[in-house]
Symmetry: C2
Subunit: 231 residues, 2 copies
DNA sequence: CGCCGGCAAACGTCCGATGTCTCTATAGTG
DNA sequence: CACTATAGAGACATCGGACGTTTGCCGGCG
């Protein structure tokens, strides 16, 4: 189990050391294989792993390149990881969001531009119009929070929170919200956050975001409780 | 580029759907290949990717099994991702830690047991004894923060913060601290956090953790500034 | 009852061949 | 001269088979 993993480590360390800066093209697979002392098969496995981590970008017929290594890419894996977490750990994820999202929203209140606010207002309007359509609600909900956090200008923070709010997790919460006739109330929570942001009120934005996450957590608890008692 | 990626998606979705619960043994590679309609090579690449994500556990001579899917495993990849981030995004990571770590430390103040406090005290003592030895300081520093956050009982939170405080990042900060003769002061910051935790004072713990992260960030800025002006 | 050796199963690695896609340079055309 | 179509080379995608190594298990032996 050493050869392929060694290759992974070697390539990774070459990138980390700056020997292979973003955008660099790697040698062809056969040459890379010779260079690292293993067969082409092993190299392919190593490259595939790094490709799945968005560290390498393999272009068929062309070559293999080092990606930009932007946080948006490297932290993308967090999302798929969260999707695989078991139900009983989803509450842990919620607890993290409970800490992070209010802080991020508060920070956004300080950094948000008028254009950002207009975009948010539009999303809010879309959300209201989509009431009843679970699929769209989930989509606009994701867009709303993503937009808010993105205005902090911190791509790492944005990617992290995006990953923590995985699609499945979000879908479950909304399922609970809709079945519990709480969708309308939740949409209004977004409005409250919007108002706080528009007022550039950091503390208010923070508080309203916390309330919102808390609502989500409560409904997630309901959904999880219901499914576990189904057995 | 479809076959292997399809296989990855298939296996992942089988796990997510509960069809392959933690601990399950997958069919042998040749059989899995037939089942998914591709060669053994492709299956191996897919399995390797999921193994690197700590989703599968491949035991040579035995078989391939689904891991426990614990957050500690699945979120491990965050660490290697952070290690690959470019210098200019490390400040973004610090900003996230600035939000998350104080909250986590504050929470720890509420949940910490006497045994946890004793362990922390021991680490603090070790840290003081190691003054001057950068390697040990880094190690005890990591142990200190890990222990604090671990007492929250939130494994997801712990894994996340562990990943965000990658070894390389920590090493750089301590390099700055030592060269700037600020190591002693930083050790005392740990003591301050410890006292707040011992007093079960959430707000004080939160504040002292924020100060501490801020110090780290300042020294990271120094280190980054120095290296970039080296050119 | 416990230890030990051998067998079978499964993963690790390698090799060679063929398919398919991209990019590029080149020849041809208007 | 500029543009376009095309052929070729280069590179990844996939396959099939072979052989080595490790592990787990089971039966035999002391």
């Amino acid at each position: 189990m050493a050869l392929t993993d060694d290759a992974i480590a070697k390539i990774r360390s070459m990138i980390q050391s700056g020997e292979l800066p973003p955008g660099t093209r790697l040698p062809p697979e056969p040459q890379l294989a010779a260079q690292m002392g293993l067969s082409r098969s092993g190299v392919r496995e190593a490259v595939k792993v790094l490709e799945s981590a968005r560290v390498l970008d393999v272009r068929r017929g062309d070559g293999t390149y080092v990606t930009s290594l932007a946080p948006r890419l490297l932290l993308q894996g967090l999302g798929v990881a969260v999707e695989l977490l078991r139900d009983d750990t989803l509450l842990e994820v919620m607890e993290v969001r409970r800490m992070l999202e209010p802080m991020a929203t508060g920070l956004a209140a300080l950094r948000m531009t008028d254009a950002d606010l207009d975009e948010l207002g539009q999303i809010l309007q879309d959300m209201r119009a989509a009431a009843g359509d679970a699929e769209k609600l989930i989509q606009f909900d994701a867009a709303f929070h993503h937009t808010v956090v993105a205005t902090t200008g911190n791509e790492t923070l944005t990617s992290l929170l995006d990953g923590l709010s995985g699609r499945t997790l979000r879908a479950r919460v909304w399922r609970g919200l809709i079945e519990g006739n709480a969708a309308h109330q939740t949409i209004e929570e977004h409005h409250t956050i919007y108002l706080a942001l528009r007022a550039r009120d950091q503390l208010l934005a923070q508080a309203s975001a916390l309330l919102h996450v808390n609502t989500s957590e409560a409904w997630l608890r309901t959904v999880l409780g219901a499914t576990s008692s189904d057995r």
